[in-house]
Symmetry: C2
Subunit: 199 residues, 2 copies
């Protein structure tokens, strides 16, 4: 509920089934009852959720990646990110993915926000974490994972967003958020300082 007086837009499940159970994607099709009592079909991806890391070096540069994205047939520039493993806290996912993909560990972690990248047909939520106090330890890519990392000054990353060189939604949100924190326009996110894994 967002405000007090508006209609109830809730859709209630009547029936449902898993219609595709792949290696990566899991698709459900549910029949739902709409607010006017009629029925409709909803098809959507069931996803465990993911994290995106905003790794900010002491120099003020971001650690970014270029990665070939097969569905789009081309490389995209992205912030490090990854899927939450079963039973894993989002902070543990963030630490693991940052180390695996970029080789950095971070002294300070702060949870920034949660976004929904495609609410029309996926239940995926992405939690964004700001990582600072970075130290390079050497990366450990998963087998079959190919990506390159590079660093870019925050203002330049913002310009890459404006010019359309960066188009990945989670990355755009992370960069514009980091810039607002760096400019003092938005407060520091809470929970910085050494945080326990599995919190």
């Amino acid at each position: 509920m967002i405000t007090g007086d508006h209609e109830d837009l809730t859709e209630h499940r009547v029936s449902g089934t898993a219609v595709f159970d792949g290696k990566l994607l899991h698709v459900r099709r549910d029949v739902v009852r709409l607010p006017d009592g009629s029925e409709a079909v909803r098809e959507y991806i069931v996803h465990p959720g993911a994290v995106t890391i905003i790794p900010l070096l002491d120099s003020g540069e971001l650690v970014l990646e270029r990665q070939f994205r097969y569905p789009l047939g081309r490389e995209l520039v992205e912030l490090p990110a990854g899927k939450i493993d079963p039973g894993e806290s989002t902070l543990a996912t963030a630490r693991r993915e940052l180390l695996e993909e970029t080789g950095y560990s971070a002294r300070s972690w702060a949870r920034v926000t949660t976004i929904h990248p495609l609410c029309a047909y996926s239940n995926e939520g992405i939690e964004l974490w700001l990582a600072r106090g970075l130290r390079h330890e050497g990366r450990r890519l998963d087998h079959g994972e190919f990506l390159e990392t590079f660093t870019l000054a925050l203002p330049e990353a913002v310009e890459w967003v404006r010019s359309g060189r960066i188009t990945d939604a989670k990355t755009i949100v992370g960069i514009l958020w980091a810039e607002r924190i760096a400019a003092g326009a938005w407060p520091e996110p809470g929970g910085s300082g050494p945080a326990p894994v599995g919190a």
Copy 2:
């Protein structure tokens, strides 16, 4: 290619097939050859693309929607948006969806950018359009479509992003972009003024 000297990360299709052909979702599974010569499976949604409209009233307020998003089991606050119909230009989609969902027509349209909401498993691209010179004509919701519209001052929308009340990725990008244009931090997007449908 993003810079001159980096490895070729391209994944080449070896074989592929449509594994789920639903009412809304279309899923493919392809076998690809990775840069090291090994093979991997890629499952992804094939999508026609979408538009998101940033409707900015002369008063400086945005026109927003609340809509129940079944995959998440709750309402989200979003900018108006919709899928591109076959053969339709993105501007025509933007005009159509703005009118259908909010009842507004716009005198001025400017293309802002294109974003990729979920590059890991969808080929969907979303084109963002800024709509100004709005005039209310009365909305024409599709059968079975339930949503409420409301207006919100741009600074308040930015605050809803910061506080986590707005979590939809396309909406966050649209709001933060609009604020930068309104603040003069980013130039006006090109192509404003009356634009031909089907351009």
